[in-house]
């Protein structure tokens, strides 16, 4: 039976999950700092403005540096890598909130256990206000809301219990790895959605990579020129889209595990 066309209805509600399988929730503002940052000055300012974030580690950006020497036998040129400071990674004492300040934007992550959207988005917006004061960006080129879920009990054998559309196995060959990425436009809305499904063969002794990872990234397709005015509505819509996709991509049986 053909599926109904996509319906954009912010009034549509979704079931509450008391044990959501979220391992990381992220709100990311891609916005270039208009102020020159000086490492020590910025560290002092951030520790004053965000005292709850007790750890402040420098972030390095990898730069590919091509070696300039050509050997006599004309082997391919060597590449070196340089690291350059480009911001700070802050963490709360319990390591549940991570804020990454770079000259290209701010990413605020909430790690397990995820509480609720209101608490998470309020904290992210509070940190965003700090970013705007230290970076003074003129616009937001891209806003992203990303939820990474881990469905621990999923295996290659029971994937059909979790996904309404599990991968096809040609000639019933046993599945060894699943990596599926797709992206979608939202009709009539300036948003896009990217979905990644990832399942890897378990590595002996490692438990954190088992299960099915479902990664939902909802993002703006156009810049926010007035972020202060547009932010709340954008986040509300993006969260709704995330929920819409999440509940559509899982079976009722799977969702029941997290209620």
């Amino acid at each position: 039976m053909a599926k109904a066309p996509f319906k954009f209805d912010l009034g549509e509600t979704f079931r509450h999950l008391s044990k959501p399988p979220i391992v990381e929730a992220i709100i990311h503002w891609q916005a270039r700092s208009q102020k020159e940052w000086e490492a020590e000055g910025l560290r002092a300012e951030l520790s004053k403005l965000l005292p709850e974030y007790t750890t402040c580690d420098p972030m390095q950006q990898l730069q590919v540096d091509f070696a300039a020497e050509i050997s006599e036998d004309e082997k391919p040129p060597l590449t070196r890598h340089q690291h350059q400071w480009h911001g700070y990674r802050l963490a709360t004492k319990d390591n549940k909130y991570i804020a990454q300040f770079t000259r290209d934007g701010l990413a605020v992550s909430r790690r397990q256990p995820y509480q609720d959207w209101e608490e998470f988005s309020a904290e992210a917006k509070r940190v965003w206000q700090v970013f705007t004061s230290v970076a003074q960006p003129v616009d937001v080129q891209r806003l992203g809301v990303r939820f990474i879920n881990r469905l621990e009990s999923a295996t290659f054998e029971n994937l059909g219990d979790f996904l309404p559309d599990p991968p096809t196995c040609p000639s019933n060959l046993p599945l060894n790895e699943l990596f599926y990425q797709s992206s979608f436009t939202v009709p009539g809305q300036p948003f896009g959605v990217r979905v990644i499904k990832l399942m890897q063969r378990p590595v002996e002794g490692q438990t954190q990579n088992t299960g099915l990872f479902l990664d939902f990234d909802v993002y703006t397709e156009t810049p926010l020129s007035r972020p202060d005015e547009e932010l709340d509505d954008s986040l509300k819509t993006m969260r709704w889209l995330k929920n819409k996709v999440f509940f559509d991509l899982l079976t009722d049986k799977a969702i029941a595990l997290y209620r």
């Binding site: 391992v23 091509f66 934007g105 790690r111 809301v145 990579n209 993002y219």
Partner: protein
């Protein structure tokens, strides 16, 4: 495609797998970008010190090279590839040339900005984009228009 920045082990694992998938496709001669990367390496070799042109040119910086590398890596598979060069002000230049009246050049500066100039028939277009890891969609559209 740009990605919302993650932090934890799951985010890193997904990023690693995504990169592996991309580089597998990039290795194909039909979809890869190796010719442009080879030219970028040549620019790095020839222009990494001041006065590389004998007329007092500025050295091309690791940041400009790095951004050029990321730009090239972010081009869609099978996309038209530019010729790569350097400018006396130390910028890396990517140029798409279709005819004397249809061309586009993108100049990548050491501060993370892309300056572009396009000639489309009798129209001249130019401007600047902030570079965030991937080629801006507007530039991709212009490249498609120039290359037909």
């Amino acid at each position: 495609m740009p990605t919302t920045l993650g932090f934890g082990a799951a985010a890193r694992s997904i990023e690693l797998k995504t990169n592996q998938q991309r580089s597998a496709l990039r290795q194909s001669t039909a979809l890869g970008n190796q010719p442009a990367l080879d030219e970028l390496i040549a620019v790095a070799q020839e222009c990494h010190e001041p006065n590389w042109d004998g007329y007092g040119a500025r050295a091309v910086t690791p940041r400009a090279l790095s951004d050029a590398f990321r730009f090239l890596q972010s081009l869609p598979y099978g996309f038209p590839l530019p010729s790569v060069g350097a400018e006396p002000d130390g910028h890396v230049t990517l140029e798409w040339y279709s005819s004397v009246r249809r061309s586009l050049s993108v100049s990548i500066d050491p501060d993370g900005y892309l300056h572009f100039a396009a000639l489309m028939g009798t129209n001249h277009l130019y401007g600047t984009f902030t570079f965030f890891e991937t080629a801006p969609r507007e530039l991709l559209r212009l490249i498609r228009e120039v290359c037909g």
